[in-house]
């Protein structure tokens, strides 16, 4: 068994460069400063007919005084809905060119994203930056944002993965934006925020100088010239949240049942450690191929299991959520699998998992939107060169530099006892009793 494994490992390690793309990073991604403040990253792919245009801002989701949970969400949507000089809003413009728009708010960042036919990329860059770099909020656009937030809030409440994610972050962090849900949690919170407050937040958060413009797809880097708005300045420092000194497990009533596990992980600057956490996540939890997912599939289980290492400025977070039948037994299996990683994996298993991991990384980043998401997220968290999917970028090099001993060391360092959170519905409570 060992001998066979060794031979396999040798064969795989010998071909470890199979997954390496052939382009140099400087050919793949253009980057620089915008003329009127802010920075840009452009990853060009002339083989597709689509472009993704995204603006990323560093901003606390609960406001600059930490008193208004969800204000970043309200501001980002309200700005997109307000008519611009040409008489139509950014959202209207995108519909007219066949594009799709989305807003994603994280504890420490706001992302607005559009995917459009490539021929509309330049106009989208111009319109999106015009909307956000000189933001205004009207009564009507705020109402639209409030309605939007109410719908999203209900969906989040009934999504086991998202509800458990919020609760786990609340326990893991003592304060800061990561301690709060990035969405308003109640109608009262939604309506309590005044237009003036939203407008002021938008003007501070969505400054050009606080922005990273991430563009990917069939678009020339010269399209960046379409940005005509903005003012020079500097980007805010990252909005990190302090960890709880001794985070407590919690069980509370919810709209869904489930268990969440969370561990604080390495900061983004520790690339190799963060990549090792991603590797562990990929090996255990990836849909279809993760070892724990395959175990559940083989057993015909309908338990929903998901894992993610959230790469943040400092610290990152590994989070696992479990819902559906047999959640407790699955939790036991998850913890046992993670504990087993404290010892180095055998060479053959590791080599195969490493090849698969690098492939997954490249495969996941192949659409313009995924590429722009990576550029925006990693750039805003402070390490653009580490964005997964950049051909010959540091992420792939870090992934190929992992070895079984290093991964085991990272598991021992970061994946000790997790914070355990549990949501219980009234029905489940009744059944249990």
């Amino acid at each position: 068994m060992r001998a066979g494994s060794f031979v396999l490992a040798f064969a795989l390690l010998a071909s470890v460069t199979n997954v390496l793309p052939s382009r140099a990073t400087n050919e793949a991604v253009s980057q620089g400063a915008l003329a009127h403040g802010g920075a840009y990253l452009v990853e060009r792919d002339p083989g597709v007919a689509e472009a993704a245009v995204e603006l990323w801002f560093r901003a606390p989701s609960d406001g600059y005084d930490a008193s208004t949970p969800g204000i970043a969400q309200l501001a980002a949507v309200a700005v997109a809905a307000v008519p611009l000089a040409a008489g139509r809003s950014l959202v209207d413009f995108l519909q007219a060119v066949g594009g799709r728009f989305s807003v994603n708010v994280y504890p420490d960042m706001v992302a607005v994203s559009a995917t459009v036919p490539a021929s509309a990329a330049r106009r989208t860059i111009a319109t999106m930056t015009a909307a956000y770099f000189a933001p205004t909020v009207s009564d009507d656009s705020l109402k639209t944002a409030q309605q939007d937030a109410a719908v999203l809030g209900i969906e989040r409440k009934y999504s086991a993965a998202l509800a458990l994610h919020d609760l786990a972050f609340q326990q893991l962090f003592a304060g800061g934006p990561a301690h709060q849900s990035p969405l308003p949690e109640s109608d009262a919170q939604i309506t309590a925020v005044s237009r003036g407050a939203v407008d002021a937040f938008a003007k501070r958060a969505f400054r050009a100088s606080n922005a990273l413009l991430a563009v990917a797809g069939n678009v020339e880097a010269s399209a960046i010239d379409a940005v005509t708005d903005g003012t020079l300045g500097t980007m805010d420092s990252p909005y990190d949240s302090p960890l709880a000194s001794s985070p407590q497990d919690i069980s509370q009533n919810g709209s869904v049942d489930g268990i969440g596990l969370a561990w604080a992980g390495p900061p983004i600057v520790d690339e190799k450690a963060a990549t090792a956490m991603d590797f562990i996540n990929d090996y255990l939890f990836r849909d279809d191929s993760g070892t724990l997912q395959r175990t559940l599939d083989a057993a015909g289980s309908s338990t929903a299991l998901s894992g993610q290492f959230v790469t943040l400025h400092d610290p990152g977070v590994m989070i696992v959520t479990i819902s559906g039948p047999n959640a407790d037994a699955t939790r036991t299996g998850v913890l046992a699998a993670i504990a087993s990683l404290n010892r180095p994996m055998d060479a053959a298993t590791f080599a195969a998992a490493q090849q698969a991991f690098v492939y997954h990384c490249l495969s996941d980043a192949q659409t313009p939107q995924a590429a722009a998401d990576n550029l925006g997220w990693y750039g805003t968290e402070g390490n653009a060169a580490y964005a997964p999917g950049i051909p010959d970028g540091t992420y792939v090099r870090d992934a190929l530099a992992l070895d079984p001993d290093y991964v085991a060391g990272i598991a021992r360092t970061y994946l000790k006892a997790p914070v355990v959170v549990r949501l219980v519905t009234a029905t489940a409570k009744g059944s249990a009793s």
């Binding site: 064969a11 793309p21 002339p46 083989g47 809905a81 519909q95 090849q355 192949q366």
Partner: protein, 429 residues
């Protein structure tokens, strides 16, 4: 609502696929030196229509057995099942059984794609159909079938397809059923393989690094299949009769779903562009009929209603679906059907610019992954036509007039067949 006259995209500004022929197999290439990965599709005329009724699942079992076939990787002589080997080599291999063809898709890092396609060719040319391999294939298909059963939309599609494809067995369940799979022995699978895994009608469609695409691996893959061709099994599936044209299935789900199917024009038709625009119009109308909250952010509920235009199927069809859990199920379903009825009766006026733009945007968005690009080019090339799946479709959408949409609605949206998937009652089987 139709106030904006969109600037319609005239061209995708992407290189068109090129076509060649190797030993009777069509080879489609889309060189892309920006792609980190290379994807290769192989279409073989060994799909559902090659099965008799009693062979339900045999196409999938044959394809899955190829994925389970042990292959040798590297120079060490180590053997692993193809699917496992592909993962260990930094790639993936999968298949999808369609009405006419089974489509294998191989994807990997550009540096290792040659080796990956070579191991796939190894399994394709010398597949294992022994009892152990068949057992593993049955287990894998069994898991897929069980997962499909949990998804109301897929349950509804299977029900509808069974009655829609009346000239062959192309409407049989993609992966068969647990019962049908259990009856096949090695000789059945080998017989299906020998009869149908031929070069006739096969297509290789690849996207990725130009050097890989020009290296000869595609021709070598095409050469693995023996010469000759196979024919569809002639079958006459009785058309659904009766006034209601409704089918009902019970599943362990939380809320009822309605799925309805209409005939539709294929992608070569003059009505192709108009149906793409009509599908967008229906998406909007269905969302309003189902009272999907009209918000800016993407929401989970917007995925619970919509349309799927299966233009690559023969015959092509349009499917609409509604999750009754969005509100009052009966009124949601009746509003939806009322909307469908109205759209082919009222006179459509005004600007369709927005819907045309959305149709173009959606079409482009569904052609960005390597697997989608390879699949679309292969499907378009399969019948001897151009492999340019993009520019022609965008031009067709740009040329659509309201009268075209009206005509297509009247032609195709007459009398749908409806599948209702409803929650199983407690204690029922």
């Amino acid at each position: 609502m139709l106030a904006f006259a969109a600037t319609v995209v005239a061209s995708a500004q992407t290189p068109s696929p090129t076509l060649s022929n190797s030993a009777g197999v069509i080879i489609v290439r889309q060189p892309d030196d920006a792609a980190s990965l290379t994807g290769v599709d192989l279409f073989v005329r060994a799909g559902l229509d090659r099965q008799t009724l009693a062979q339900n699942g045999l196409a999938a079992l044959t394809a899955q057995s190829i994925l389970e076939t042990p292959v040798t990787i590297g120079t060490s002589g180590t053997t692993l099942p193809l699917e496992t080997a592909a993962a260990a080599m930094g790639g993936s291999v999968s298949f999808d059984v369609g009405g006419r063809s089974v489509r294998f898709y191989v994807e990997g890092g550009s540096g290792g794609s040659g080796a990956l396609v070579a191991v796939f060719a190894q399994a394709l040319g010398t597949p294992a159909f022994d009892a152990t391999t068949l057992h593993a294939a049955r287990l894998a298909l069994g898991r897929k079938i069980a997962q499909t059963e949990q998804v109301p939309l897929l349950v509804g599609l299977e029900m509808l397809d069974r009655q829609f494809f009346t000239d062959a067995n192309a409407g049989l369940p993609q992966d068969g059923t647990a019962t049908s799979l259990a009856q096949f022995v090695s000789a059945d699978v080998r017989g299906f393989y020998v009869r149908n895994y031929r070069r006739g009608g096969a297509v290789v469609s690849a996207v990725g690094a130009p050097a890989i695409l020009a290296s000869g691996i595609l021709e070598r893959l095409a050469g693995v299949l023996p010469a000759g061709s196979s024919s569809a099994i002639v079958a006459k599936v009785p058309a659904l009769r009766g006034a209601s044209r409704e089918m009902i299935a019970h599943r362990d789900i939380g809320a009822p779903w309605m799925v309805a199917q209409f005939p539709a024009p294929a992608f070569g038709s003059k009505n192709f562009g108009a149906m793409l625009v009509l599908a967008e119009l229906m998406n909007r109308g269905l969302a309003e009929a189902a009272q999907v909250p009209n918000v800016i952010s993407r929401t989970i509920s917007e995925n619970a209603v919509g349309s799927i235009y299966n233009f690559d199927q023969r015959p092509a069809n349009l499917v609409i679906y509604v999750d009754g859990g969005l509100g009052d199920a009966s009124s949601t379903f009746s509003n939806t059907l009322a909307f469908v009825k109205v759209i082919d009766m009222v006179k459509l006026t005004g600007s369709f610019g927005e819907f045309k733009a959305l149709a173009q945007g959606d079409y482009i968005a569904n052609a960005t992954r390597l697997s989608d690009r390879a699949m679309l080019a292969g499907e378009f090339a399969m019948d001897g036509g151009s492999a340019d799946y993009l520019n022609g479709a965008l031009a067709a959408i740009a040329a659509v007039t309201p009268a075209d949409v009206q005509r297509v609605a009247r032609t195709y949206l007459g009398n749908p067949v409806i599948a209702l998937i409803v929650p199983r009652e407690a204690g029922s089987q």
